[in-house]
Subunit: 465 residues, 2 copies
Amino acid sequence: MSETPDSAVRTYIEEHRAAFLADLAEWLRIPSVSAQPEHAEDVRRSAEWLAAKLRETGFPVAEIWPTDGAPAVFAEWPSGDADAPTVLVYGHHDVQPAAREDGWHTEPFEPTTIDGRMYGRGAADDKGQVFFHTLGVRAHLAATGRTAPAVNLKLLIEGEEESGSPHFRELIEARRERLAADAVIVSDTGMWSEDTPTVCTGMRGVADCEITFRGPDQDIHSGSFGGAVPNPATVAARVVAALHDEDGHITVPGFYDGIVPLTDQERALFAELPFDEAKWLRTAKSYATHGEAGYSTLERIWARPTAEVNGIGGGYQGPGGKTIVPASAELKLSFRLVAGQDPDKIEQAVRDWIATRVPAGIRYDITFGAATRPCLTPLDHPALQSVARAMGRAFEQPIRFTREGGSGPAADLQDVLGAPVLFLGISVPSDGWHAPNEKVELDLLLKGVETTAYLWGDLAAQPLR
Amino acid sequence: MSETPDSAVRTYIEEHRAAFLADLAEWLRIPSVSAQPEHAEDVRRSAEWLAAKLRETGFPVAEIWPTDGAPAVFAEWPSGDADAPTVLVYGHHDVQPAAREDGWHTEPFEPTTIDGRMYGRGAADDKGQVFFHTLGVRAHLAATGRTAPAVNLKLLIEGEEESGSPHFRELIEARRERLAADAVIVSDTGMWSEDTPTVCTGMRGVADCEITFRGPDQDIHSGSFGGAVPNPATVAARVVAALHDEDGHITVPGFYDGIVPLTDQERALFAELPFDEAKWLRTAKSYATHGEAGYSTLERIWARPTAEVNGIGGGYQGPGGKTIVPASAELKLSFRLVAGQDPDKIEQAVRDWIATRVPAGIRYDITFGAATRPCLTPLDHPALQSVARAMGRAFEQPIRFTREGGSGPAADLQDVLGAPVLFLGISVPSDGWHAPNEKVELDLLLKGVETTAYLWGDLAAQPLR
């Protein structure tokens, strides 16, 4: 009996589904919480578990890569085909903290399957999405009869993503040659919804700063001095107020320079998504949309840069009143960046602009944190088209395109390795990342397996080198 | 040997100086700190000590007036002359907290005289300035040969001024008939300097509010939602920024309505004061002057209303950054008011204005505290002229005029009793009110005694009724 490759993939997955889910559950039982020092040993154990599982899967190389923090796992499976492109898969094996008393209905580190969903910390973010690559590559081999993948397949599974990836850039710079790839597949994002499978084409970057404005050497009496000396809280407020004009455009000169514009095609694709504003507002726990004139909500969060005040403080904040001119005020600002914006240039533009906003008598300090770059892969990039095609075969419906408003280490991979970044994630908004009762939909998880089973063959045929 | 009245007053004061200072020192030893519950008994003891001393001085009536907080002292000494005007003296017998370890060179409640200065908590604020009225009225009687003062003399010495006078308005409203007066003399302020004796003609009032702006129901991720929902910290900042225009004028519609304008005469008198801006800035611990265009620094702090942000807070204020859109932000604003401004109308104007500044999706609450009214006595008022004349005799030089930028319960006396308020204070800026090493200059203290010795006779001759 002759099977089409797709049905061969599905048969293979069905046959191995139970063992695959049992293995995932075993991994989820390891509480690899990178933010909690008492779980450092668990994070190490998680890395070792994964490396062993990857060797069992067939990867001839599976190594623990130590960092100054938690270890990463690197694995490599050469294609054997001359001229095969190299693909690097990124994910992470550490998880967010979780405790039953936070509102979990089941033990967070005792995975429990109910109605086709596996509940447990890391089920979706990100162990489940890392793990679909194991069965995926085996299904790819089984359906094609190959003994090695059609691409040179590398995996880099970080151990500190939930702690802000403090050593990630250092790690990939130091290991640049072993990580060299023609494309990067990030499996740490999600889709629009169960009914609307999507591929993400880019993430925003982020730059952030703290500014302290100092006026009087100490809080002074507002009756004796108020109205005759500059108030640093007023100066801080005026900086925030001046960040945007009445149309919500950011006023910092040069801020928009070099931005890759949204294409009409991408705007049209965004507009086709079944966006329900009332539902989105509930997710945002907010009561109205608001933002840059001329752009839709999805365009605002995915494809436009922002300037946001994350914190402001100055003067008396206790109960009741206190009639003072405050000695100081502090701002925490962050700027989401989109493709074409360079964090170094944004930092300089913000510094130059702030310098023009501070009146005589107010001294200030401004400090920038480490920035994350934006990344974007054009819609017509052959690797992106491959991902969409492989997903389309698995989901048996057209794949739409999104972007991600948040920021992550993916952009560092693009920057250091010089390779396009593609996102292959099957998580959905209801999966509860960072929240109690995190889960993964098993049907979608297996669609992820199936997608990768198709993806390596498709990518091998693309002009990626 | 015949003496002029002035020399008779001086001789009497000189003869009684030592006993007077010893009595004051005794009073200063009572730590009548109204803000500290453990000193409640001391505040009561201070009231009783004063009432006894006033009876000893000759006041036929000296009573403790209880309140729901600390007690006040009321004393009364009728003139006996038909048609004598009635004068009410206001001061307070409670003091600020003080501890040796705050930087005092001597024990704060063990008064110590060094180089003509008596150091001790309350020496200037306000026990010394209350106390000069005791020897003053005796000197008045001795020099004139009277057995009762030329005016019906009343004293109301509060016990909670340093705690914000929470029961003062209630007290004077309840005791309105016994407090009835043709003029109020407040002895709880100061002069320009040792070399430049001055009379204060008014105080600013103050209205204050807290405003909480609420956006999302909880802090939300600035990557997922930033740029597409309103940020309550931005709204708070924009309110602060919009309070003033580029010329430092307050933009709240109606805010300036009804203000009694500064006269050319008063502006000229202010301009004659030996104002040293560099020195004033050191006192303000500030690095530049700043404020409403068209007004000098003294005009800005004494005679113009202000809008000041006393506190602002919202979002993340800990170390480092946190990429959130904050759930809420809070403002504490205060408005100094000048004669002609009604706190109720200001509250309504601010409420109306805020309502226009809040975009869709932001909810807010605004709460006003109890306001203090402004007070101002015109330069040509006969009682004000009396005070200046009596001071001129004591200081043997022309008396200049100031105002006070701060606010106090004096305005309540003007409002409830319908009597003009005059300020007779001999404290100087170096006296260290509310600070360690508070002191009173003994020469100036005795000038206060001497001023009151002349004042009652002068006031009795004025058309005050």
